[in-house]
């Protein structure tokens, strides 16, 4: 069992499942011989051939639509969108068909597909290569939306996504792709698609985050620990559905909550969590729920991206204000 990066874990999960599941195919732009622009699909073409690893023409709407058609006819397509900034043409298929096929046919047909895409900023990429628009997908009924934050969770959650009988949007925080290594056991064990992960227990305040922002969130928690403040850090992991039990239980104990996301603020996943806390956990709150998030601006080009993305300092400031609130 070797230590691997998150991108390697993504690759490993696909290797594992293609071996197990002859109905699984992989499709997308540059995913064949090139192995994907981030190398997520490296080795798949060589191992499984060009009828299971399909380089497509350049058309994201088509990629998603073809995946819907495949999935409705018994295949398990895992489609890659090269960057989340190019996912919007695929959104029509996700909202109009993927999320509806089972419901519309009362279960006669279904849509067991996965739409994978790297997302988020922080790697000095060109325009349109750094977006975080998971909220759009989390608003769409009939989908699941999953965001891993570490190699082990990427492996287990991607396996679960591929095996899930319904469409899953699987967003990979590309800043984490090679950030750190973890020992990942290739044992084919999937993780649940409806459960948060408590990365750090704590009793003073609850920090909820997902994807790459957990890095800064955990740094903040470590800093706080040196000051004697114990922050509970929760990795949301499944953006849709949201495991509110875990969050409510935590906030029930801490009475304080800061939500940290890279995405723009308005109508976001952070909004939803805050709204649910305000609905179901209001009376356990000692302080307002703070959201530390991207601004409601276009993600700036990379020279300024660090000012857009929440920093450890911004998180700490929000935590301090929340703790000091009386």
């Amino acid at each position: 069992m070797s230590e691997i990066t998150m991108i390697e874990a993504v690759n490993l999960a696909m290797h594992h499942e293609m071996e197990q599941d002859p109905a699984m195919v992989v499709l997308g732009e540059d995913i064949g011989l090139n192995g994907g622009v981030f190398r997520a699909t490296v080795g798949l073409l060589e191992k499984f051939g060009d009828q299971r690893v399909l380089d497509t023409p350049l058309a994201e709407n088509m990629i998603a639509g073809v995946a819907v058609g495949m999935a409705a006819q018994g295949l398990h397509p895992v489609a890659e969108i090269q960057f989340m900034g190019f996912i919007y043409p695929a959104l029509d298929q996700m909202v109009s068909h993927a999320g509806r096929m089972r419901n519309r046919t009362r279960g006669r047909l279904s849509c067991p597909m996965v739409l994978r895409a790297p997302y988020g900023g922080g790697i000095h990429a060109p325009e349109h290569h750094s977006e975080s628009t998971e909220a759009m997908f989390a608003h769409i009924p009939g989908l699941r939306v999953v965001i891993p934050s570490s190699p082990t969770r990427a492996y287990g959650l991607l396996l679960a996504a591929i095996r899930d009988p319904d469409p899953v949007v699987f967003l990979e925080p590309k800043r984490v792709y090679r950030l750190a290594k973890q020992a990942v056991k290739d044992n084919g064990e999937a993780l649940p698609l409806d459960t948060c992960f408590v990365l750090r227990p704590g009793s003073d305040i609850t920090l909820v985050s997902w994807g790459a922002m957990l890095h800064e969130t955990q740094l903040a928690a470590e800093q706080l620990a040196t000051e004697g403040i114990e922050a509970e850090v929760i990795d949301l992991a499944t953006i849709k559905p949201i495991d509110m039990e875990t969050i409510l239980e935590s906030v029930g104990r801490t009475g304080r909550c800061v939500i940290i996301q890279e995405a723009a603020r308005s109508c976001s996943v952070g909004s939803e969590i805050a709204a649910r806390l305000a609905e179901d956990g209001l009376m356990s709150l000692f302080a307002p729920i703070r959201r530390v998030s991207g601004f409601d601006t276009v993600m700036p080009m990379f020279r300024l991206e660090k000012h857009y993305m929440p920093s450890t300092e911004r998180i700490l400031q929000a935590v301090r204000e929340t703790l000091e609130y009386a």
């Binding site: 023409p57 639509g65 819907v68 409705a72 089972r102 419901n103 279960g107 006669r108 009988p165 039990e245």
Partner: protein, 354 residues
Amino acid sequence: MNKTTSFKVEYHQFLLPNGEPDGELPPLADDTNALHALYRNMIFTRLYDERAVNMQRTGQLGTFASSLGQEAIGAGVGHAMQPNDIITPSFRESGALFFRGFRVRDLLLYWGGDERGMGNPDVGDDFPICVPISTHATHAAGAAFAVKYRNEPRVVVCLLGDGGTSKGDFYEAINLAGIWNLPLVVVINNNQWAISVPRTMQTKTETLAQKAIAAGIPGIQIDGNDPITVRHYVAEAIENARSGNGPTLIEAISYRLSHHTTADDATRYRSDKELEEHRQFDPVPRLKRFMTQRDIWSDEQDEQMLTECKAEIEQEVKQYLESEPQAPESMFDSLYAELPGELARQRQSLLGKE
């Protein structure tokens, strides 16, 4: 250096509008059973349409799209397909769907605002009616890949309208079908109108079939009001695809004799003159005349078939009207294979048990 690459698009027709053959006929023209089946499907569809429009008027149905005048396309396509083939229909192809095993009550449920219409479990793998124009073209390509991947001798047929050819989905799908050599037949029901937008405002091309050239696949134009032509060329394309020879685009030229839907008033944008001129191309009398001339159809048979079809439709209408509504919570019950906890709670709240 000057080099030239050339392309062509052919137009085919067997029966003239008056039912007379135009040149040599295909073997199909001698297959009485097939002709009867095509004719019955067209009559049945027309009667169903008429009934459905009336039901809409009396509040028993929602907005409804008739295929009046275009029945030869649904009939020809439906009859040309093998049971195991897969259809991805638009919303205007009731005739084809009847051949595929959808019942009148299924379609009435659908247009009556009930998901169960597309849920008929006896229907097999066919796709449900697709409302967002041309978005099903890529499904058809994906489905065609799936059957090819499994080496199944099945073909996918996608139906869409003239308006549908303006949408990116259509091009993306046929382009993929070309390069992946998929067992796919795309049939354009060119009924000359996309709601109020005439074919001539949709695209500058002389034909819609020539759009196939952009995908490097064969494209042909056929008389879509001649059921023999439709049945023949669609079957040819299907069997060609089944043999591994890849996709075909077929433009079937027809005309929408009805309003766009029951929510539309075509007199706003279409002249009576144009409408009247097109009645002469009606596919139903055309096939009837052909069969009568050949002595394989009589007025008595016609009467009897009408009576039978009407009875069957009334029987189905009754089933539809008597269908119990789905339980409100059914909106949760087919959404996911397993309902997530947060939705289970929303479902409870719908039931008033929060």
